[in-house]
Every structure is written in C-alpha cells, then in structure tokens.
Symmetry: D2
Subunit: 143 residues, 4 copies
C-alpha cells in the first residue's frame, strides 16, 4: 500500500495538531509495515522508582497507531481511538527511550485495527503489547 505521509510529514502534523505532546515523540521509521515511534523519555514520564508510567506507555501505543493510520490515509485529525487493550508485561529499562512498533492489520472504511509492541530501546523482550481500534470519520479530507 502506498504511503501518503512520511516521517517528516507525520512529525509536522503532530507538532501542528498535538503541540502539547509533540515534543515527547520522534518518528523513527515509517514504511509499508507500519511506524516505529520513539518516546523520548524524560523525568516527567517516570513513576517513582524511575520507570515510565503506564499512561505514558499507553500514550506511546496510541500515538504510534494513530500515526501509522495517518501514514496510509493522510492527515485526518478526527480519527479517534475507540478501543485499546494493553498488556503490561515487563518494567521498562531505566534511562532509555521506549520504542512503539505499530502495524496495521485492517484499514477499513470506518474502522482501523492494529497492534503495537513497546520495547525499551535495545531490549529483545517487549515491555507492553496493545491492540487498538480507531474510528475513521466518514468523509476523508486528503491533504
């Protein structure tokens, strides 16, 4: 499937539409397989003990899937998460970024479904796994 937004375009979109969180993320890779999104871990993302908090891991999975969808359909600010089922499996490693690897499993007219594996950078075993569904608004305004 053809890509309609590359890493640069996705980061610009994030900056323009979600300025509050855009600084948290960097798009490491976009291709036909999906998106790899980086959470640039900082003090504000940590729980006591020094590991990234659950809501920040959730946010990484959510934004990674959102950008994977946009990379296929173009900038549609109105797509919304309708469901996320997330398994937290291991503590994130301390002092390193998290990577969310999103792949799209279905891209229908009104629903998109995919999943995300979250890793501490350089680690082989995933921190978390999420399945997500997005609702896509009926009229798509392509960029």
């Amino acid at each position: 499937m053809q890509l309609r937004m590359d890493a640069g375009a996705l980061e610009v979109f994030l900056q323009e539409e979600f300025g509050q969180v855009a600084a948290d993320f960097a798009v490491d890779r976009v291709d036909a397989g999906g998106v790899v999104l980086r959470l640039k871990v900082a003090e504000r993302h940590l729980r006591p003990g020094g590991t990234v908090s659950g809501p920040n891991i959730f946010a990484l999975a959510d934004v990674a899937m959102y950008l994977a969808i946009l990379s296929r359909i173009g900038p549609v600010a109105l797509a919304v998460t309708t469901n996320c089922s997330i398994d937290f499996m291991r503590k994130p490693a301390m002092g390193c970024d998290l990577l969310g690897e999103a792949r799209i499993l279905k891209l229908g007219r009104s629903l998109a479904v995919g999943d995300v594996l979250v890793f501490s950078e350089g680690a082989a075993d995933p921190v978390a796994r999420a399945g997500l569904t997005y609702s896509i608004p009926p009229v798509r305004t392509s960029a």
Copy 2:
C-alpha cells in the same frame, strides 16, 4: 468486605507514593462497592479542542482501580497493572471534572480484576469503560 483504607488514607498514600500525579486526583467516595475517583481537570490534561486526552482518561481508570484494591488489602505499593481494555465511547464534556467509578469483581491471592466507568461530572452517559487486571505481589505487607 471490610475496608482497610478510607478516602483520607488513600489520598495520603497517593501523595507519598505517587507525588507526581497526586495533585490530579481526589477520592470522592470509598465503600464496599468500590471507589469513585475524581480527575481534577486542568489545562495540562486537555487535547486541542478542549477535551481530556485518552492517556489521562486511562490514568484515571488505572488509579481508580488501584485505589479500590488498596482500600481492601491495605497499602501495597507493588501491585501492578497487567492488563487494561478500555473503550472510549463519548467525548468528555468541556470544563468539568471526570469521575471514575471503580468496582472490584475479583480479589484473588495473586490477581485482582475490576472495571471502571468514567463520566463527565453530572452526565448520565459514560465517557469510557475499562476492565483492568492487577497483579498482587505474593507476600502482602499490611500497613
């Protein structure tokens, strides 16, 4: 079932163990049925457009269930979320707090399961619904 922590004790616990987010929440009610937790919505919780972001709704559900468990078993800082399946159903109303109503459905030796309904304060229809599972460490140190 007997309660081992009331609203005041839960808020103190949150303050001591999760100081970074304690200011976001207030415990509105604790009883045998569960916990009602309030997200004191502020600018930092909002997406563009003025509604509370998904990760903050997730955080409300997660903390509400955590406190509902603690109210039953006492302060166990090590209980961890292992799974959360959340449905986002409606946009939160603007300019008002969110309430997370958590109830415990199972409190086993190693796993606790429950669900949370999230409402905009004063609204009849829920914003979100979450089912959560927590893993409880084998040796419980009661306070």
Copy 3:
C-alpha cells in the same frame, strides 16, 4: 429508551437466524437496562472436569450483547462483533446454568458498546466479565 423487541421476539429471531445455537439459550429478561440471557448448560458445553468451557462462556456474552442491541434497534441480522475483551475470573459452578447480564453503554449510529457479567445461577460472584463492541450496518432495516 423504547424497546423494539421483547423476550419472545428475541427468541424467535434467534431461532430463525441462528437455529444452530438457539437451543442453547433462553431470554430470561429484557428491559431498559439490558438483557439477561441463560445458557442452558448441557453435556456438550462442558470441559473435562465438568465446567463450562471458555468458548461457551464467550458465546453467552456475545449473544447476550447482540440481543440487547437488537432489543433496542430491532432485528438487524447483520450487526457483527468487532471486539470482545473478556476476563475469566472464577470456575463456573457445576450442574447449573449460566446467566449473562448485558447492558448497553453506547448505542451510536455505527458502533454499539456494552458489557456483560456472567454468573452461575444463584451465585453472587461473577464467573466472567466482558466488554464488547458491535458494528451496526449503515442502513438499518427495521422490522
């Protein structure tokens, strides 16, 4: 909200559209709150050891939610399950039916969301809890 199908109408619909499984179920109650569906437990539903198998508990939750939706929108054979997140919490009691209590949390134009608690008949603690999403076809043909 007004009901468009009562217990009898739902059972007739099940018989006509899902004849293969209709004999497994009975509609115990339909009201504004939702549907209570009974799995008439028989030998064919059991795992070794004598408890109802996971797929049959899943089926009970799935059909209960389906009928709860139909009770509101009328007989729409094409509504399909898009997501189910189910927690298995306790073994079903032996030698008794299971009851699935379905409530609808959102009934939108294209998606319906609800949850189901499954109990062994007469027991206070739930066997399972499920959150389900159904996709509703764009043009609704009312009966």
Copy 4:
C-alpha cells in the same frame, strides 16, 4: 528457548485432556516462534451464511496460545485463560480451514502473555487478532 513438547506430543495431550474438541484441531507447526494451529472447519463450526462463528474463532485462538505455552513448559493441564481481547476484522473465507498463529511474548512464573493472528488458509489478511493471558499454577509438574 528449548521446546518441551513437539506437534505430536501436543496433539496427544489435546486428545487425552480435551477429547471433546481434539478432533477440531491439528498442530501444523511448533517452533521457538510459537505454534500454528489449524481449525479443521466443518459444518458444526459455521454460522448461517457459511462462515466460522465467533466462538469457534475464539476457541482457535485460545487453544493455539495454550499449546504454545505447553510447548515451552510441558504438559500442565491446569493453566487457565484469565483474559482474552479479540478483534474480529474480516469474515473468514468460505470452504477453507482457519490457521491460528500464536506467539508468546512473556512466559513468567505465574502469568504467560501472547497473541494470535487468525487467517483463512492461503489468505494474506487476518480474520482476527487476539491477545491472551494465561495463569500458570504455582507448582509445575514437568512431564
């Protein structure tokens, strides 16, 4: 990681412990990556219209993950599903078997987590995706 049961051993186990459903399944592959399990689709698995019913797709995902765990830890009949979140994405193709590809993401002392993709045989796009958690009994009796 070393495998403790191969395809033949898994099928024998299924036959001995779950005789009622063993005839539904065949183990197509077992390796370090996981298990591929085949649902040998027959009349009894179908909904009206000729496609495999949701509960049977659920059963395929559930058994595939169960066998993937057993292939690693040996025959432990007591492992139980605690959570399954399943997305139904496409209708199964008519007249062909379904394949469930299970991979294990975490194999802890008390919890195992993995996911399953379900395909119609020969098709590129998945019918369903499931994330599953199993609880493993504290004392493992190795074969």
